[in-house]
Symmetry: C2
Subunit: 120 residues, 2 copies
């Protein structure tokens, strides 16, 4: 099984974490791209952690995870922290596969969201 994991920063404001969970539920509804499911994982300040989400998935029937860093820019979390989490998971689960996508802010489709936001 192949799972999508959206790796976000996490916030002290639980309403902010819930906002992302609600968005991911929308994604889940239209996820017809060869994924069996989608999970949210947080780097800091919120649960579940990236480590625990990957652990739970790999303990189950998941053989492959695609990680989408949910960050607008390529700061330390994207460049350093997420790769570290992934290397840690791969050392524990060497027979599993993890692919990392570019961070969400790198996609040109963001320009359309900005344009749509301005018509708000």
């Amino acid at each position: 099984m192949r799972q999508l994991v959206i790796a976000a920063h996490g916030s002290r404001r639980e309403s902010s974490n819930d906002e992302l969970r609600a968005l991911v539920a929308l994604v889940s509804d239209e996820l017809d791209m060869g994924f069996d499911g989608v999970e949210v994982a947080f780097l800091e300040l919120a649960s579940p952690s990236v480590e625990s989400v990957l652990g739970e998935l790999f303990k189950g029937e998941t053989s492959e995870v695609v990680v989408l860093p949910y960050f607008l820019s390529a700061g330390n979390h994207v460049v350093k922290d997420i790769p570290e989490e992934i290397n840690k998971a791969l050392s524990l689960w060497p027979d599993k596969k993890i692919t990392v996508l570019p961070h969400i802010g790198a996609f040109e489709a963001m320009a359309s969201v900005i344009a749509q936001a301005c018509q708000h």
Copy 2:
């Protein structure tokens, strides 16, 4: 004249600020929604600041600014810092108009970017 100002956090990595500037250039090309232009402004760590961008615009022919907070979640920067910057500008330029949009992460169109990212 009516201007769009995209208010982002700002990064120590200038490549990250440049990434946003490049994205905004794309937005600029398709900006046919009643805006005369689009500017990027940063809250921290990068230039130009929100204060200086609003000042330059209002010193010129701009009568109205629409601010889009370029943040994925409604943390302190969205809830507190951006409104403070706007109140400061309005006290200096009481005859000007500033409208603030929801932060970019609040738009459901983000779900489509996530879906597109997964087809990467």
